[in-house]
């Protein structure tokens, strides 16, 4: 067996994509069992997955996908109906495959899960299918292959339509009517070709990108199982011309000979030109540009490049360095005003800004890649909870930094589970209160200035604030007396305390100890914030705000003692100067009043353990930071100004210091620490 480990990464990536397609298509088929496009899509994905896993030697996966393919084929050919039982079973198979792929990603082994039960069930469905096939007049392909089992290196008979069955003939006729080309391609592999099935698979895959394979001899299945000698034939329908197809195949190594015969119509056939690979080399050089345009066809494909995130980080680091140098020049300029510097600097600034934008854009990924798995989640949840739930998603094309995308899935799943479990009422209850049978969960993403807002909203029963109050008192979080003074917002805040859950019964879905506090912590660690609004009887809304980009932020530089600190400008509400006497002592903290609002004051030198005498001056400089609705005043010695800073990590060793979000390098090369407003407010 060939060493395939080098393809493992590609295999895992592509398998994930195919699984996603499968999930998505299956959901659509469940809603619209007659949707032929989806059925074809799902069949293709399953087929490719089967081929890939077989090539990689993951036999359990390939056996399972093979069994799935049989069932899907039945659905495709209208021999099986995509009923509930089949769809459920297929979903279970997808879950099993996903587990295998995760296991492969972790250990390069496909795991020991037993698929036999699934396969057995699939086969039961497929055999119903087979039984029905028998009663149909379509000739059996298998027999045909047996009788014409070709010999190695044999030049094929010119293709005639006569050795095709009814089905293929009608497909060919339709294709000809649509002015498409039909080729019979005979391929002889090198005698020394070690992994014939894999090579054949590559050929199939390449051709499938530019057309549709309607027939192969021996059958695709036998080829995959290496049940063929050195040659096989394919019938292909394509928009491309013959030369193009020939060049495509030419680029695949280990092919001894290619013969392409065009089938013109009916019984007429154009004689094939047997071609040695070298003959095409001229064509390649002159036909390249054209073929790239041709190759596009009708498929809508986004061209993507997979880039190692470390390479992007490196690029980003370089840009950061550039920005730092620019800032340094800025400082030189301020001390020494030479005119020519200024122009250079402006130019430099433009370049760095553009470069920065470009790099950041590369890191942006549509939230779709996270949202994709939610329809399936909600489907499963509605089954599990025996509720009717519709998920309505919008704004999937909103883009977020890759780092955020990787982290945001988990908190969103949690919120969706919450809505489904606690928010949406059972059908009877909804009918009783005059609502639609089916509950709705709206998941939206949109831009809002420098933020991306993701909202999870439901039209369920809303949060029972009275119950929140009771639970909080019962658990000793607040006292009975305190609770009386708690308003809506304060009660909602309680929900975010560790392991606070109002679910009456612990279900499988939510309430297993990971509460909203975990969601909040995750979102804050991404530099975002979360807010909740609820209307009894009408539903709840969770609003998540995330910064567009993470690595570079605008910050306010302040001085405390002889140290400089950066405060993210996004959390700065304003800077005020107040008289020392305006600060009042309340029972446990100092506050001052700003526009009728009571704002707590924190002396940063105390928090930051700075050993300097307390500011004795009469006028205090207070940076007011905002977190959600809440304002907090931070007393600093002075502020230096605002500038763009590149956030760098303090490293793992110091990651436990929660008041510090990171560090940045200033224009003079020194390090300034970035304060985390979420942990100070």
């Amino acid at each position: 067996m060939m060493d395939v480990s080098q393809y493992l990464d590609v295999f895992i990536e592509e398998s994930k994509e195919h699984l996603e397609t499968l999930n998505e298509s299956l959901l659509n088929i469940e809603k619209d069992p007659e949707n032929l496009g989806e059925i074809n899509a799902i069949f293709r994905a399953a087929h490719t997955l089967k081929g890939m896993s077989a090539t990689m030697g993951f036999n359990r996966m390939s056996q399972l996908t093979h069994a799935m393919e049989d069932v899907l084929d039945g659905i495709r050919n209208n021999k099986l109906r995509a009923g509930e039982a089949i769809i459920d079973l297929l979903f279970k198979c997808l879950d099993a495959l996903e587990k295998s792929i995760i296991a492969i990603a972790d250990t390069a082994q496909e795991g020991e899960d037993d698929f036999s039960e699934l396969i057995e069930k699939l086969e039961k469905f497929a055999s119903q299918n087979a039984f029905q096939i028998e009663s149909l007049p379509k000739p059996d392909n298998k027999e045909k292959i047996a009788e014409d089992g070709r010999q190695e290196n044999e030049i094929p008979e010119p293709a005639t339509v006569s050795d095709m069955d009814q089905y293929e003939r009608s497909v060919i006729k339709t294709a000809l009517d649509m002015n498409m080309n039909i080729y019979k391609i005979h391929i002889v592999l090198d005698a020394g070709c070690l992994l014939k099935a894999a090579r054949a698979y590559i050929i199939f895959k390449t051709l499938e990108e530019h057309g549709e394979i309607i027939k192969s001899e021996p059958s695709a299945e036998d080829i995959e199982n290496e049940k063929f000698d050195n040659s096989f034939s394919i019938t292909l329908i394509s928009n491309e011309d013959k030369d193009f197809i020939a060049r495509l195949l030419d680029n695949i190594p280990e092919i001894h000979k290619i013969t392409i015969t065009e089938i013109k119509d009916g019984n007429l056939l154009e004689n094939g030109t047997a071609t040695k690979i070298n003959d095409f080399i001229d064509n390649i050089s002159r036909g390249r540009t054209e073929s790239v345009q041709n190759a596009n066809g009708h498929l809508k494909l986004t061209k993507t490049v997979r880039v190692d995130i470390e390479k992007l980080d490196l690029l980003l680091n370089l840009v950061s360095e550039l920005i730092i140098q620019k800032t340094r020049l800025d400082e030189i300029l301020n001390s020494d005003r030479a005119q020519s510097y200024s122009e250079t600097l402006e130019y430099l600034e433009r370049i760095t800004t553009n470069l920065h934008d470009a790099v950041m854009k590369v890191r942006m990924v549509p939230v779709e890649s996270v949202f994709n798995r939610f329809p399936r989640l909600i489907r499963d949840l509605s089954r599990e909870l025996n509720k009717e739930i519709n998920l309505v998603m919008s704004g999937q094309d909103t883009e977020l930094d890759r780092t955020v995308i990787d982290e945001i899935g988990e908190p969103l799943i949690h919120l969706l589970r919450n809505s489904a479990d606690h928010g949406i009422e059972p059908v009877e209850e909804r009918i009783k209160s005059g609502k639609d049978r089916a509950g709705h969960i709206y998941l939206t993403a949109r831009h809002d200035g420098n933020n991306v807002v993701i909202e999870v909203r439901d039209d369920g029963r809303g949060i029972d604030l009275e119950k929140v109050r009771k639970t909080a008192v019962e658990r000793g979080i607040i006292t009975e007396e305190e609770s009386v003074n708690y308003g809506k917002n304060e009660l909602i805040e309680l929900l975010f305390l560790p392991s606070f859950s109002t679910a009456e019964k612990i279900t499988d879905v939510s309430g297993r100890g990971v509460g909203l506090d975990a969601v909040k912590a995750k979102i804050e660690s991404l530099g975002g914030s979360i807010e909740v609004d609820t209307e009894p009887g009408a539903g709840s809304r969770f609003t998540i705000r995330l910064p567009l980009t993470l690595a570079i932020i605008r910050a306010l530089l302040v001085r405390i003692g002889n140290e400089k600190y950066a405060i993210p400008l996004s959390s700065v509400n304003r800077i005020v100067k107040i008289e020392h006497s305006q600060v009042k002592d309340t029972y446990n903290q100092k506050v001052f009043i700003l526009q009728d609002k009571i704002i707590p004051v924190i002396w940063l030198n105390e928090i930051l353990e700075l050993d300097i005498p307390e500011n004795q001056t009469d006028v205090l400089t207070v940076v007011v930071i905002q977190r959600g609705e809440r304002l907090t005043g931070l007393v600093v010695d002075s502020y230096i100004g605002q500038q763009e800073v590149v956030i760098k990590s303090l490293g793992k060793y110091l990651s436990g210091i929660k008041e510090i979000a990171g560090a940045t390098i200033l224009g003079d090369g020194n390090v300034a620490l970035i304060l985390d407003p979420n942990r100070l407010a």
Binding site: L654, G656, I660, N670, V671
Partner: protein, 144 residues
Amino acid sequence: MAARENQKYLEIELGKESYGIDIGRITSINEANLEITRVPKAPRYIKGVINLRGEIIPVMDLSMRLKMPEMVLTGNSRIIIVKADDIKMGLLVDGVNEIVTIDDSLLKTDTSEGAGDDFILGVGKVSDGVITVLNVEKILEQDY
């Protein structure tokens, strides 16, 4: 204790003592004239962080970490960047001498003077005497 024959160590100075650090752990040796930015709420033996060619790295007072007096910076002081697992750390030392080779395996001693024994891997024989080898992994372990 695993045998570490023919290992090379960098001999460093702390006060009047010298210690060996496995050169496999060392990324670079730098002058100690870099500006160190204090980090609040960090353990006392963490002097702060430095900017080393665009990378932020914490710096540790090795003497304090070994429960000896706080160091005083001199022209001979150096910051040695070491790596263990995924932690990178600058170790502040009073000076660096030479690279020594330890011929035999390290001998574990019970009488390591001054330093917390956990931080000592053992003692090794070098051409002109013995050298105490530091346990870098242990030193970089967080204990706060």
